[in-house]
């Protein structure tokens, strides 16, 4: 089933806004795209419009956090990155309770092309001290993880796609910083997040048919990384495969490779991108082009296992 990350986010924000009076939402004129417009309709007095100015938005959110609010900043992931220095120098350095929840990450903004497709953000956020980095797998994961990050004191980057959320869970109980083990397997371990979790399950099915037993983890929290689950699951397998809709540099693949190289040296195959995207009328055609469909990934895994 294909759902929408942003729809799930927009609705969850309203539901959590009912419970949390301190929750405020900031927008840089993309509310109808990020679906924070639902929050504006429900709580106009807690919705702040700053116009097309992501840098001002992030620093304004810092001020709101200093004054005791829980500000949620949403934008297209690619354009929120222009405020990286504001995020670094004020939000992360001062450990402020700002929640950065962009949509349109990865290839999800398929029509808009390489300017809008964001394949570097996890790396840029993961490197920041104090920052928690979360990449929900599907639409049902959005609300429980949103609740978790709002209840956490401190800065968080929670990366969402636009639509094309492939269903993984029914009614998941997810805990921040704790990987979700979806399948056990003896031959290889696949560590995925975001939309690639659903793809990883398809890959595991296909590998099974070919006699390869694959475990699958949803590593929704990239930072802090659940090393315990990773090392426990990786111990028995020959190869660890990471799958993400992001650059293979510095994101989930980087994080997993860092941990394994220090604590459990093991062959690691990182599936992701190393280029900019391009526009495509069809999202899945784009994934195919960049080698992120399950058929392409299975072939790659067979080549190394």
């Amino acid at each position: 089933m294909i759902e929408s990350f942003r729809e799930a986010f927009g609705r969850a924000l309203v539901e959590l806004g009912e419970e949390m009076g301190n929750l405020v939402v900031l927008d840089a004129d993309v509310k109808s795209s990020t679906k924070t417009i639902y929050f504006e309709r429900a709580f106009p007095e807690r919705f702040i419009q700053v116009g097309i100015s992501e840098q001002d938005m992030v620093s304004t959110a810092a001020g709101l956090a200093i004054a005791g609010k829980i500000p949620v900043v949403s934008a297209f992931a690619a354009f929120l990155m222009r405020a990286w220095e504001q995020i670094r120098n004020t939000v992360a350095r001062d450990n402020l309770n700002v929640k950065l929840v962009p949509t349109h990450s990865g290839f999800s903004d398929h029509m808009d092309g390489s300017s809008h497709q964001c394949l570097e953000d996890v790396a840029l956020m993961r490197v920041l001290p104090n920052m928690t980095v979360v990449v929900p797998a599907d639409a049902p994961s959005v609300k429980p993880l949103l609740r978790e990050i709002l209840e956490l004191e401190g800065p968080v980057y929670m990366r969402l796609g636009r639509d094309h959320a492939l269903r993984v869970y029914e009614d998941p109980e997810l805990e921040l910083g704790r990987a979700s083990v979806l399948r056990e397997g003896d031959d290889v371990l696949i560590v995925a997040n975001g939309v690639m979790v659903a793809m990883a399950l398809k890959v595991a099915d296909e590998l099974k048919r070919r006699g390869i037993d694959a475990g699958v983890i949803d590593m929704h929290t990239v930072k802090p990384l659940d090393e315990r689950t990773l090392l426990g699951m990786a111990r028995g397998v020959g190869t660890v495969i990471t799958m993400e809709e992001h650059s293979v540099y510095g994101g989930l693949g980087g994080a997993v490779a860092e941990v394994l190289s220090e604590k459990l040296p093991k062959k690691v195959l990182r599936i992701g991108t190393s280029e900019f995207g391009r526009s495509s009328r069809d999202y899945f055609a784009l994934l195919e082009r960049y080698g992120l469909t399950h058929e392409r990934i299975v072939r790659k895994i067979e080549g190394v296992v």
Partner: protein
């Protein structure tokens, strides 16, 4: 302490560190003094031009919020940081990277309004800092939302890091720019008494944010 006394203190503090940002701290002393003396309990002060931290520290010392020993620990590895950081007395937000303090002030002002709280937010800006685009993003946000508890003070000292402001990037007409962005503007010579009078004057103006341009005339 007299203005001259503060200046002496500042120079003593900075002489072991090659006069680190001495000039921009000197021109900021009167501004920081006027603001900190005017500041009420609910008010917040943001030193957006974080490199004038030495001036801020001298005034904190005068107010009894930093000891002499702390003052002279400036930029020592475990001493006072060279740019202000959150957690120091009266410092709500770290700075050092220019152009961000006005946006932070707006955020605090918006939160105060939502909570029905009083209090002003003073933001000390440099004239070179006005080169940063984010200042003007924030200027639009403040006037759009009618944040009349935001009071900016521009340290118009005509110098920025590598030269005279008008040679690096023309700033004038500064007052007209702020007015065009919907702000109430007051221009004064950069002297503590003048700034203090301007702070009292702008407090009476409702409905829009205010900026005091403090021109260095020495």
């Amino acid at each position: 302490m007299s203005e001259v006394g503060s200046m002496v203190k500042l120079r003593e503090m900075l002489s072991p560190v090659s006069n680190f940002h001495l000039d921009s701290s000197e021109t900021c002393l009167g501004i920081v003094a006027a603001v900190l003396r005017r500041k009420g309990k609910e008010d917040v002060v943001i030193l957006s031009k974080g490199h004038s931290a030495p001036a801020f520290y001298v005034m904190l010392h005068e107010l009894g919020l930093l000891s002499e020993e702390e003052l002279y620990s400036f930029a020592d590895i475990d001493g006072l940081p060279s740019h202000v950081i959150r957690g120091l007395p009266l410092i709500e937000v770290s700075s050092g990277s220019l152009g961000q303090g006005l946006s932070v002030a707006n955020g605090i002002a918006l939160a105060k309004r939502m909570d029905g709280e009083g209090g002003r937010i003073y933001v000390i800006l440099g004239d070179g800092e006005l080169d940063e685009g984010q200042i003007w993003e924030a200027a639009m946000t403040a006037s759009h939302h009618g944040l009349d508890n935001v009071i900016a003070i521009v340290d118009r000292n005509y110098f920025q890091l590598t030269g005279k402001t008008e040679e690096i990037l023309n700033k004038e007409p500064i007052a007209d720019k702020w007015r065009a962005f919907g702000w109430e503007v007051v221009e004064v010579p950069n002297r503590e008494g003048e700034i203090e009078r301007a702070l009292r004057e702008v407090e009476k103006i409702r409905g829009k944010p205010k900026v005091i341009i403090a021109r260095w005339e020495r």
